[in-house]
């Protein structure tokens, strides 16, 4: 656990640099996993590498060394092989197969760690959530600078991943988005998938020491999924995912420092907040954007229905309905405020309001007339579709329908279709 102490700023710098590097690598690989619907591969692998690491350490490898890397990658491949084996030979669904394979391997790893606690310097807790705070204490000299071993490993993996992604970019993207077409085009799809698997193992193992088994899952999936919500093009998604991952690591580490708690856990929380914000605020189809567009449509429809109802009342064949629902009342208030309805209890239409209302009623009756002529619906089935479409017909469509009706002046209910009106809104009218 960390204390706020400026003499250890270098330590914090190294820890943050490690977290950011690890996160960038994970976000890079994770983007491919997310678009290929393989996000849980990270989950399976990160659990399953534990026995590989323990056995490699037991065989004399140093934590963070090449031998341990190899052991972990082998363990990862064994998990995937086991999952496939359970799927093809025992007929297990993929989720159950993965659930069986990785929990078992992880359990074996934990038992090994507990049983060999005296010989293997691994703490079962840190296996799960890492010890980012201790990363700066295990260093190797690089050009006279004491660089944490974990950072070195993560940076090496990151470079390898970036180079591999750049070299095989076309193949990776083609396989990710249309594996069948890629296979038909003669790409070695199986090889590319195996490569992605090895890349995931590398990213997972590099992250393992810093953030632990389960938070790797968050680092792999969360920034990529958030980026997918924010942008549409894959290359932009990669950049955004890496940026989100790095930002989340920095903010998470600082928050953990401030609140004196586990850094890896806090990074996962910050990444989760990033995803939440992305889901809420994504342009176009974010939750807020969709709620706003839906509510503004509801609001416009309420206002227009109110205007049309008043117009019909002026036409003389029905009394205007009093606003009943809250939305109706709000619409009424807004129309009064916008100068469409005369204030007061009587509340007739103003000139501008009358112009707008006439266009809506015209749309309504044109559609009824058109349906009556071409679709031969019974009379009492004409109103509902017209009530819906009156809010969406533009001037051009209205013109075409009117031309199609060839001067037929009335709607099927025998009422006049009001003229288009020109100009539909006087130049001195207040804007909405």
């Amino acid at each position: 656990m960390m204390e706020f102490d400026s003499t250890h700023l270098w330590m914090h710098f190294w820890a943050i640099a490690t977290a950011a590097t690890v996160s960038a690598g994970c976000a890079l690989v994770g983007s491919f996993l997310v678009v290929r619907r393989l996000s849980l591969l990270g989950d399976a692998i990160s659990h399953a590498v534990l026995p590989g690491i323990v056995l490699a350490v037991l065989a004399g490898g140093r934590p963070g060394g090449a031998g341990v890397f190899l052991g972990a990658v082998v363990a990862a491949l064994v998990t995937v092989w086991l999952t496939n084996l359970l799927g093809t030979h025992a007929g297990l669904a993929e989720d159950a197969g993965a659930g069986v394979a990785f929990t078992t391997l992880f359990a074996i790893g934990v038992v090994l760690v507990s049983a060999l606690a005296s010989r293997v310097d691994i703490d079962p807790g840190c296996v799960l959530y890492g010890i980012l705070e201790l990363v700066p204490f295990d260093t190797v000299p690089i050009f006279g600078l004491e660089v944490p071993r974990a950072l070195l490993a993560a940076a090496t993996v990151l470079v390898v991943l970036v180079v591999a992604a750049a070299l095989c970019w076309k193949e990776l993207v083609f396989t990710a988005f249309d594996p069948a077409a890629a296979r038909a085009a003669g790409l070695p799809v199986g090889l590319v998938s195996a490569g992605l698997l090895v890349a995931t193992s590398l990213a997972t193992v590099a992250s393992f020491e810093a953030v632990g088994a389960i938070l790797v899952v968050a680092m792999l999936a969360v920034p990529a999924a958030a980026a997918e919500l924010l942008v549409r093009r894959f290359h932009r998604m990669l950049v955004v995912a890496v940026a989100l991952g790095v930002a989340g690591s920095i903010v998470g580490y600082l928050a953990a420092w401030r609140f004196n708690t586990n850094a890896a856990g806090m990074i996962a929380v910050v990444l989760g907040i990033e995803y939440l914000l992305a889901a809420l605020l994504a342009p176009g189809d974010g939750i807020v954007a969709r709620v706003v567009s839906r509510e503004s449509l509801r609001w416009r429809v309420a206002c227009e229905d109110r205007l049309a109802s008043l117009w019909r009342a002026e036409e003389g064949d029905a009394a205007a309905l009093a606003p009943r629902t809250l939305l109706d009342r709000l619409a009424q208030a807004r129309l009064v405020f916008g100068g469409r309805i005369v204030p007061g209890a009587a509340g007739g239409l103003t000139d501008i309001g009358r112009e707008e209302a006439r266009v809506i009623v015209r749309s309504h009756r044109l559609w009824e007339a058109w349906l009556g002529r071409h679709v031969a619906l019974p009379l009492d089935h004409l109103h509902p579709p017209a009530e819906w479409i009156e809010h969406h017909l533009g001037a051009e469509v209205r013109g075409r329908i009117a031309a199609d009706l060839e001067g037929d002046e009335g709607d099927p209910h025998g009422r006049d279709i009001p003229p288009e009106g020109f100009p539909s809104r006087p130049a001195d009218a207040p804007t909405q």
Binding site: G99, Y275, A279
Partner: protein, 428 residues
């Protein structure tokens, strides 16, 4: 196996104390219920949703600990765990409904973030040295040693309650698990039943928490049903069988972890369950590896016998034949033992010749077998010939080449065997 484990854990003549017995009984019923409830999680492919819920329980444990003012009261902590587990499932549903994120990524997000939040909270609590917080990390990997008899009774009662619920709604759950479309068309509230099952899985995950821990409790829900599935095709058998496997796994884990100091229970439970699964995968009737290996061997043997009979029928035209002649015309790894079986079943009988060399001929029964076999062969050849004409009628340029479907290697093998068959039957 359980007996062996118990022998290891408890030396002879040692009577376990009351508390140990009650805890064992409680954990046994937890294992049983987890297996039963897990069947539907596995059949409905909700295994990973259960995993996400399990990882979220840690956050609930921490929150309940803080809200309860630092009391380590098991029902309180489990209540907190259940509320975050259900919140996690809700988050999964909401992500699926409101965003473009797909199922797998949603599961990974909920799992990773909620676990991170739980770790953050628990680390924060332990860094501040709040009294009573020392045992909270036991929920990570499970540790039954700290359970009191009262705790175990609560766990047992909850388990039996979930089992009773499953038994009560067995028909509905089975229908929804196997044919949700039919269930919906018949007017069953499929979504409601589905959600109820998922919540039941969440309850089970929480109840299993003290025994197996947040990280591995899914295994208690997933592995026993998968094991039971190897033995049966019927839900009515699968449920109790899964319960039994879960019970054995849970008890073994508890027994070993109480015998070995500082060993968390969860991993041991999982390993016990996996051992049961491995054994089942090997020896289960019909689906097991052994059964399938035997079946494959029987097929190969029957095929070799038929091939020998066919060759013998052809050779016999020139009188009795030797074993070497026969085997030379019908080579293969299984030919030798097939020959022995044919002799033993008296389909081939020895002929004593003047030279004293061993010669053989077909017995009446063997000749009938061989004749029947060639009749069937001819009939199948007719069918396949007809299919060839059919294929010619259907072959357009859109039909993919057989290499694309069977693979180049398989196609090459077919071509070679066809060529070999032509050259073998050509002169005759």
């Amino acid at each position: 196996m359980i007996l062996a484990v118990a022998d290891m854990a408890f030396p002879a003549g040692w009577i376990p104390p009351y508390n140990t017995l009650v805890v064992a009984a409680g954990v046994a019923s937890v294992g049983f219920a987890a297996g039963v409830v897990g069947c539907f999680a596995v059949l409905r492919r909700r295994a990973l949703a259960g995993d996400a819920a399990a990882h979220a329980t840690l956050l609930g444990v921490g929150l309940a600990f803080l809200l309860g003012g630092g009391r380590r009261d098991l029902p309180l902590l489990l209540g907190g765990a259940l509320s975050t587990a259900i919140a996690a499932l809700l988050a999964l549903v909401l992500i699926g409904r409101w965003t473009r994120t797909r199922d797998d990524a949603a599961t990974a997000i909920v799992l990773g973030v909620s676990f991170g939040a739980g770790i953050t909270l628990l680390s924060g609590i332990s860094a501040r040295g709040i009294p009573g917080s020392a045992g909270l990390e036991q929920f990570l990997l499970g540790h039954t040693a700290g359970l009191t008899a009262a705790d175990a009774m609560i766990l047992g009662a909850l388990s039996l309650l979930t089992v009773a619920l499953v038994a009560l709604f067995l028909k509905e759950s089975t229908l929804v698990a196997f044919d949700p479309l039919f269930a919906a068309a018949s007017g069953w509230p499929v979504t409601l039943i589905d959600y109820a099952l998922v919540v039941l899985v969440a309850v089970m995950v929480v109840v299993g928490l003290p025994a197996a821990g947040a990280v591995l409790v899914t295994a208690l829900v997933v592995i026993p049903p998968v094991t039971a599935r190897q033995w049966t095709d019927s839900v009515g058998v699968m449920l109790p069988l899964a319960g039994l496997f879960g019970l054995v796994a849970a008890l073994s884990g508890v027994a070993v972890s109480s015998a070995v100091p500082r060993m968390p229970t969860g991993p041991l439970v999982v390993i016990a369950a996996s051992i049961l699964l491995t054994i089942s995968l090997l020896i289960a009737p019909r689906r097991g590896g052994l059964a399938r290996w035997l079946r494959a061997r029987r097929t190969v043997a029957a095929w070799a016998e038929g091939r020998l009979l066919e060759v013998a029928l052809r050779l016999e035209v020139q009188g009795p034949f030797t074993r070497e002649q026969l085997l030379a015309k019908a080579p293969g790894a299984a030919a030798d033992s097939a020959f022995k079986r044919l002799v033993r079943s008296a389909a081939i009988e020895p002929v004593v010749t003047r030279a004293g060399t061993h010669a053989w001929r077909l017995a009446v029964w063997g000749r009938e077998l061989a004749a029947e076999r060639s009749r069937r062969l001819a009939a199948w050849t007719e069918v396949l010939e007809a299919a060839r004409e059919d294929a010619r009628g259907h072959l357009t340029i859109d039909v993919p080449s057989p290499e694309a479907i069977l693979g180049a290697a398989r196609m090459k093998a077919i071509r070679e065997s066809a060529a070999a068959a032509r050259s073998a039957s050509g002169p005759a």
